[in-house]
Amino acid sequence: MLLIPCPYCGERPELEFRYGGQAHIARPENPAALSEEDWAGFLYMRDNEKGVHAERWRHVHGCARFFNVVRDTTTDRILGSYKAGETRPETLR
């Protein structure tokens, strides 16, 4: 079982978490001004990274907070985590 470092609770078993998809995807300020292609890009297109990937997780059966995790998708190794709303630390690039 993966141990996921929650920025609030510390390392916790994977069972307590839900995956929340790719991190740092900002909703466009004015969706009405977007072309259909750009809107579809925002809604559906993701990086599908092979390697180091920033993603959202939610500690749903714990503190219930969303946060960000940087994980290597090829090895499942988690490099670190940081709170939602924070920028990705340089050390986790």
Partner: protein, 186 residues
């Protein structure tokens, strides 16, 4: 006047015993989920009687009342033996004009007490956390899972755990623990 329906317990009042571990229902009372920013938490420290823990996964207790940290702006307040309406009114009166959420969950949840030298072992049958006293000390509390049910687990003593569970999940949790107590004669 509208007659209030009687509140029936979710679990039978019986105690399940085994060699080295006992499962019993906890006394009923008032329960609240309190949410709010630091300012509201400071007001609640005074109003509740025991300061709300700002340290993650820790509970505080005073004068029979307890405050369990659930999230960075979320606490579970327990007042065994007290009337929810009275306590809610007292609290609300002491938090005027301060943005917060105080939700009465007295009827949503019930609680079990698991105690004995084998309490850790029995819980480990369905909970993935490290329950060793070093990793999960007395006073630590957290939402977590037991089998397929979400619980709030709180270590009130070296060999005693308080388990808060949603009412409709209580029979499941009770039977789940009983199943794991069977090998110790439960």
């Amino acid at each position: 006047m509208v007659e209030r329906p009687a509140r029936l317990p979710a679990l039978p009042a019986s105690v399940i015993g085994a060699d080295g571990v006992t499962l019993s229902p906890a006394p009923d009372g008032a329960r609240f989920v309190f949410r709010g920013p630091e300012g509201a938490a400071q007001a609640a420290d005074e109003a509740w009687g025991t300061p709300l823990s700002r340290v993650a996964c820790r509970a505080t207790m005073a004068m029979g009342r307890a405050a369990l940290w659930l999230g960075p702006d979320e606490w579970l307040l327990l007042a065994p033996g007290e009337e929810p309406e009275t306590v809610a009114a007292q609290l609300a009166a002491r938090l005027p004009g301060i943005g917060h959420a105080l939700v009465d969950v007295s009827h949503r949840q019930t609680a079990l007490i698991l105690s004995g030298v084998l309490a850790e072992t029995v819980l480990a049958g369905g909970n993935p956390l490290d329950l060793d006293i070093g990793a999960f000390p007395v006073g630590m509390c957290t939402r977590t899972l037991l089998g397929k049910s979400e619980i709030v687990l709180w270590r009130t003593g070296r060999e005693t755990f308080h388990i808060e569970v949603w009412r409709s999940f209580a029979p499941y949790v009770c039977e789940f623990l009983r199943e794991h107590m069977r090998e110790f004669g439960g």
